[in-house]
């Protein structure tokens, strides 16, 4: 076991470093290999998107790298370093005080329920702010800080005096992202920030997230979504996840997909372009394999058109070319 780093030494510039990381669900149903050997580096100033189908482990990944796992999800092996802290090795108290309160901010998927329904937004903010920073400011004082923060992000101040049910979905999502960045964390991790919104609020949320980063309130963003076109707008690097593994990552994944899964996924998307109506769009046949006993070898092989002999036998290697990674035998 490695000794956890102390605050003093921060050699690597990576804000988030995930190395050969595994996290499994354990219960009466067996062991589900939800996140199975993934590696990721997120440097300062990067916006990384994780895309994939439902049930491929995106949300489990988000929970694991923030240390906020649901009851059946357990750490298995590997390491996650957030600004030098190995979050699965340090004590829960350090994890809470240092990492969760100061370094990262995690906006989970069911964020619309995360505001307190019987308190005004400003009272909720006051509670949150006191908890995170350990100060004992009055509601009024916190409200001033919040107003300033909201104004920087071009959000309406009047939200603070409302109850959560009075806000629309898009407004609530933007408020929650604003609230979660009030304590200026370094890394923002959002899980499906736009999935329940319509296109115009979606655009506003994307714009605001980029704005927060440009204004230097946060350093990096990790965004998890099933919507590739949203990630394309928001992120400058995209990682494609399939059945608990990262199959491809890089900056031009969308324009030049290499992995057969990414290609198939891109072919099934519907961009708003003139040709969309006239070219036949295809769906990917089959379903994601059961992750309780993931198949040996390539996990996509049953749905893959370019399947080879070797795919049945051996796990494909991760082939790295510059900033591009692809996990497929085709490129060996």
């Amino acid at each position: 076991m490695t000794v956890p780093k102390t605050t003093g030494e921060k050699k690597d510039k990576d804000l988030l470093l995930v190395k050969d990381f595994r996290g499994y669900y354990r219960g009466i149903f067996g062991v589900v290999h939800a996140v199975d050997g993934v590696s990721l580096q997120v440097g300062e100033g990067e916006r990384v998107g994780v895309a994939g189908e439902s049930g491929c482990g995106k949300s489990s990944f988000a929970q694991l790298i923030t240390g906020t796992t649901t009851p059946l999800l357990h750490y298995e092996s590997g390491e996650v370093r957030v600004d030098g802290y190995d979050i699965w090795k340090i004590s829960p108290e350090v994890l809470r005080k240092k990492v969760k309160c100061e370094l990262i901010s995690y906006v989970p998927q069911a964020m619309l329920n995360s505001l307190n329904p019987v308190k005004k937004v400003k009272e909720f903010i006051a509670d949150m702010f006191r908890d995170r920073t350990g100060c004992s400011y009055s509601v009024k004082k916190v409200c001033e800080i919040a107003t300033e923060h909201f104004e920087r992000l071009n959000l309406d101040r009047s939200v603070l005096d409302l109850y959560p049910y009075e806000l629309s979905g898009g407004m609530m999502q933007r408020s929650i992202i604003a609230i979660s960045t009030m304590t200026t964390p370094k890394l923002l991790i959002t899980d499906e920030p736009t999935s329940a919104l319509d296109v115009s609020s979606q655009k506003r949320v994307i714009k605001m997230m980029i704005d927060i980063q440009r204004k230097g309130i946060i350093k990096s963003i990790v965004c998890i979504s099933h919507d590739i076109s949203v990630l394309n707008q928001l992120c400058n690097r995209i990682v494609i996840m399939y059945a608990g593994e990262f199959v491809e990552s890089g900056e031009d994944v969308i324009k030049h997909p290499l992995h057969p899964y990414t290609k198939a996924l891109m072919d099934s998307l519907l961009p708003l372009e003139r040709e969309t109506k006239y070219k036949p769009l295809l769906s990917i046949p089959g379903v994601v394999p059961d992750l309780r006993n993931p198949p040996h070898g390539c996990r996509f092989r049953d749905r893959c058109e370019k399947r080879m002999e070797v795919c049945n036998v051996e796990d494909p290697p991760e082939i790295v070319k510059g900033k591009r990674m692809v996990k497929c035998w085709l490129y060996k």
Binding site: V199, P271, S283
Partner: protein
Amino acid sequence: MGELLEIENLAKIYISGYVWTEKKVAVDDVSFSIKKSEIFCLVGESGSGKTTIGNIVLRLLKPTGGKILLDGRDIYSYDKKTYWRKVQVVFQDPYSSFNFFYTIDKPLDDAFNLLENRPSKVERKKIIRTIFKKIGMNPDEIMGKYPHQLSGGQMQRILIARSFILYPELLVADEPTSMVDASTRVAVLNELLRLKEEEKLSVLFITHDLAQAYYIGDRIAIMQKGKIVESGLVEEVIFKPKHPYTKDLIKSVPPLYEKWKL
């Protein structure tokens, strides 16, 4: 000729409260018609009244004003069973459309109750199997399974199949793909397109996704705050929008290959 559903000056006002009532106009003077073998798309933001129209057409809600005609007759002049034989629905959430205590054979079997002469058990099985084969699904893989063993896309296609036991004339599809993965979304859409071509089905397709509406639709209506602000052929509305709201909406769709300048 060929108008299947005609909606004239439809209005729906929701009233809440007993002593101090609050009114909310959900649908405001909406008129449109759907032809035979046509996919008509209703697009709008959340809260624009799309689903209300869908529910009114399905007779799940009573309109406050206006007239809806199916085949030239008022929809309330039909007997309920006759009406639902003609008009069927696929809802947004496939996961809550099934009762998870039963295998998926049960809801399919129940659909036969709407028919006047309920076929025998053997025949019912046979019909279900042919319909599954028709929509390109392997009946052996699906029948006898529980909902949780199937993917969202499969469930949604089974719901389409279920509506086809009755051979409806109109299918109301209320955001059928919003909870389905991108990889299987196309399968649902292609299924609707095929049914339109081969079975002369008309579809009222309710969505907030302009790209889907463009892919599947013949005609489109854009809704804002209960009103239709623009309607016409999909190509014209999407590539030559006239109303400022439509223009705004189209600009907000994230393009797949270019990046916005933000």
